[in-house]
Structure formats: C-alpha cells, structure tokens
Symmetry: C2
C-alpha cells in the first residue's frame, strides 16, 4: 500500500472516531458543538494520529486504545490551531481552505470551542474505554498535559508570538519549534510506544525519530510559507516575514533549510533501523512529509 | 474557629501549594509563567478548594491528595476567569481589585496563560503525587474534564455570552448558571467525597448541598452586580444589564432573588444533616456565602 493511501485510510478512521466521540448537543449548546465539529472534522492530514497508530502497530498494541489516544491528541492539535488563528494571535482568515472558526462563527465561539476541545481530550484519555489499566490512562493524561502545557506547546506559542524578541538565531528558532510543534508530535509517537509497552531502547529510538521528523515537518512548513501559494496550502502564505516572525527560512534561507530537511529525513529513518521492515510505514511517512506541497 | 478565619487559613494553604506547584520559568517562557502566577496567586477567596478540603475532611481523607485536587480545580477556575475577562468575552478591566491579565500583560499572553492553566490542572491530577491509586487519579481527571468541558462550564460560558438569546425565563437562567459555575462547584465538593471514598448516600447529600450552594452563590453574585460598588467587589459592577445579559436579578428582581437565596441556604444546610456536627464548617460556609459583600 502506498503511504498516501495509508495516510488516507488512517485519516478516515480518525474522522469516524472523532465524529462518534465529539459531543453533539441540541438546544442552547448546539452552536458550540457545531463549532467544535466544524474545526475538528475539517479534513486535516491527521498526521499526529497516524504517528500514534503506526508507532503502536510496531508492538501490536490494542487498536481501540491507540485510536482513542490518537483522537485525543488530534483534539489538542485542533484546539491549538483554533486559538492560533484568533485575531489576537495570527488573525488568520483561512485554514485548510475554509474560513477559520472565528470567521465562520465568531470570536467567542472559537475561543470556547478551543477550550472545550482541550478539556475533552483529557476526558477521552481518562475514560476506562481507552484502556482497562488506569495506570496506563494516567500515563497518557500526564504525557499529553506535559506536551501541551505551560512548558510545552503553550510555551512555544508564546515564543512564536514574541517573534524576533526570542532571538533570531538557529538555536532560538529550533527551541521555539521544538516546543510549539515538536512536543505534541513527540507525544503522538510516544503514546503509541506507551500503549504498546515498548522497551526503553525502542522508546528512545522512536523519540529520536519523532524529534527529527518534527523539525523536518516544521522546516517544510516554513518553506511552504515562503514559497507556497494559497491554493496548495489552504492557508495564508508568506505571512511569517510580514509579521516579523522568525522561522527556519528567515534565519537560514531557503537553500540551507532544504538541505537540513534532507539531513533530518535520512537521520529520522536511521533511528528506526532496530525495527527492521516492520517500520516501513513510518519511514515512508518521512518521505511524504518532506515532499508534501500542503 | 470562625468561618472567616477558617476560609483565610485554607486560602493561605492553597496559595502556598499553588506557588509551589505552578511552573516558574526563566528565559523566553518567563513572561508566560509570570502571567500565570499573576492571575493564579491574586488572592481569590479559594472557595472551590475550601469545598474540596472540607468535604474530604468529613471522611478523614488524605490531606495532601485533597490539597492537590483543590489546586487543580483552582487552576481551572482561574483559567475560566482569565478567558471570561478577554476583550471578545466580557472585556473587563478589573478583577479582584487589580487590572485583568490582558490589561496587565497583553491579550495573547492572557489567552495562552488560560490555556496553560487548564492543561496544567490535568497534569497535577494525573501525577502519582496526587494519589497512590491510579484509578482514583483517573476518576478525578474524568470528573474535572466533564465539569469543565463542552457540556459543562464551557457550555455555560457560551450560554452566558448568548445573553437573552438563550431565553430570559428562570429555567434558562438557572440552567446557564448550573453549567457556568455550578458544575465546577459541584466537582469541587465531589472531589473531596471521591478522595474520601464516601458512600453513595453521603455523595448524594453532598451533591445536593453543592447544587444549592452553587445557585445561592451565583444569585448573590448577581445581587452584588446589581447593587454593589467597585470598592467592595473588586470588579466592575452593573455590567450584566448593560450588556444585555440575563441573570437572576434581571429575571426575578432583587427581592425575589434575595428570598430565593435564603431558601436555598436553609435547604443546603439540611442536606448535610446526616453528617451531624462534623459538617459545621460546611454549614457555616453557607452563611458566609450568602452574606458576603464581595
């Protein structure tokens, strides 16, 4: 099966699970739950869920548990996009080719839908349906909270908004991206390893893979922002420079960034060598990520 | 010990625990963690933590566990106030007698500090330091997520912002308040009962107490908004009517609201009769809540 097809199948499974799990209210709460669904079911790539499912598959982990963890992670990812798009943050009008949530609904609803999705992610993880062992559920809750919290993703969002104030060298930009997108990608992979009860060595290998893939992913994002067109990316482009934000391309330029992406991609694949051919899907995913046009 | 003194002592314990648990970063994240601390350590009444600690004390529950659960709940309460104060929501300049977080820092920092506090609450609860039994930790995570999530507190905030659109009868206003403040107060009491491994009958009694206290608390808030002065409440007053929001006073008037507060207070105390004199602090708290001027 090609990686594109595998990603598409995963995305469909995740969409079905999200649709089944997300709240659906009638009456006064209908607007809020409609807004949650507008953003959460908007046809994203579902890359983080893919990582969780594929990392877990290396250990024949329980698929229902993996899927629920994957959905929780995607809820947190969606909340972060909704809040990032708000007028006080990036003030974006487009996301995945459609109006952003605060443009389609309103700012209050977008703020609250983000809050609700973040909270709901923890409800999913702590539910006995996710895993029969409460110790495992606690590990997942802790891991997600740390990845997304004040010393993780939120710190990265704050650094991103601070722009050049955080410093405009490669170290500062790498650190910001590790926090802003790296932590959650890392947790997505780690959740699969955790549910699969991976050995220490296997977890370390997967964590290094996640680290390199996460950075490469972000560099490609920055390249697409610099070069891309709205039609391909489904969101506004060339905005980082206009906003005085620093990213890999503004710091290193296009050529050096492309080179670095290639290096990270090879390195990411090498980390998976201990899994042999079982890890083919995860290594193929690297190529997909670095070659993507959206 | 008077109830005022007991509340003050509890608030001091909660402040010390919050100060010890909340992240404190140097470097690029310092602004975010300072903002979190500005709001979380601002001298609130700590009423929700008080409920958790006192409900747990009925069952001689482990104090360290109660305190960590109480801190997590206060983090969620603080996040809800920060987001409620934002320009797109209530656009408030004052909170507890000081500038609101987005006025003291900026809107982005306030948004992110709220997000961080919400996330951090779940990190606290899932940590083994909260309770040795992971099943107990999962119960707390689930309970908090449900109380604060898309069918709980967030739904209440959405309904509150919708104002008269939700209907301006007593049923609609009661429902909105049950969600917006009642769910979290209910969970605060229930967390104490859960950690204390209360019986079904004891939990039910405490839940009814929390229901009545929560409504009475909100009615007093609405009375203070209608009659109060900024000096006493430390926040803007008489804003609900100006904003076209419905509350108990706009729906029932001052006199009927006062009468209803008295009824709920007596009823709340009666629910605790099965605990006898052990529940004196919780019954005294009812009088404090209905007589408060801030």
């Amino acid at each position: 099966m090609t990686i594109e097809r595998r990603l598409k199948e995963t995305a469909e499974r995740v969409n079905i699970a999200l649709d089944a799990l997300l709240p659906k209210a009638e009456g006064p709460e209908a607007r809020l739950t409609s807004a949650i669904r507008y953003s959460a079911l908007d046809g994203g790539k579902r890359l983080r869920p893919f990582f969780t499912l594929e990392a877990g598959a290396l250990f024949d982990a329980d698929e229902a548990a993996l899927l629920r963890a994957a959905v929780a992670i995607e809820c947190v990812h969606t909340y972060s996009l909704i809040h990032d798009d708000l007028p006080c943050m990036d003030d974006d009008d487009l996301r995945r080719g459609r109006p952003t949530l605060h443009r389609e609904f309103d700012e209050v609803t977008a703020l609250l839908a983000g809050d609700a999705l973040l909270t709901f992610a923890f409800e999913i993880l702590a539910d006995p349906a996710t895993h029969r062992d409460p110790q495992m559920r606690c590990l997942l809750v802790s891991g997600l909270a740390r990845a997304a919290g004040p010393l993780g993703m939120v710190a990265g969002q704050a650094a991103d908004m601070a722009g050049a104030d955080i410093g405009s060298d490669l170290i500062a930009v790498t650190r910001m991206n590790r926090l802003k997108t790296g932590c959650l990608i890392n947790f997505a992979v780690d959740a699969g390893a955790t549910i699969g009860v991976a050995s220490e060595a296997e977890r370390t290998a997967l964590s290094r893979y996640a680290h390199d893939v996460g950075l490469a992913f972000q560099m490609v994002d920055d390249l697409l922002d610099a070069e891309g067109v709205v039609r391909d990316t489904g969101k506004a482009v060339q905005k980082d420079r206009a906003r005085g934000k620093v990213n890999f391309v503004t710091v290193m330029g296009v050529e050096a960034t492309r080179e670095r992406v290639g290096m990270l991609a090879s390195q990411a694949k090498r980390h998976l060598s201990l899994f042999g051919p079982r890890a083919t899907t995860l290594t193929d995913a690297v190529d997909f990520i670095v070659q993507r046009r959206y």
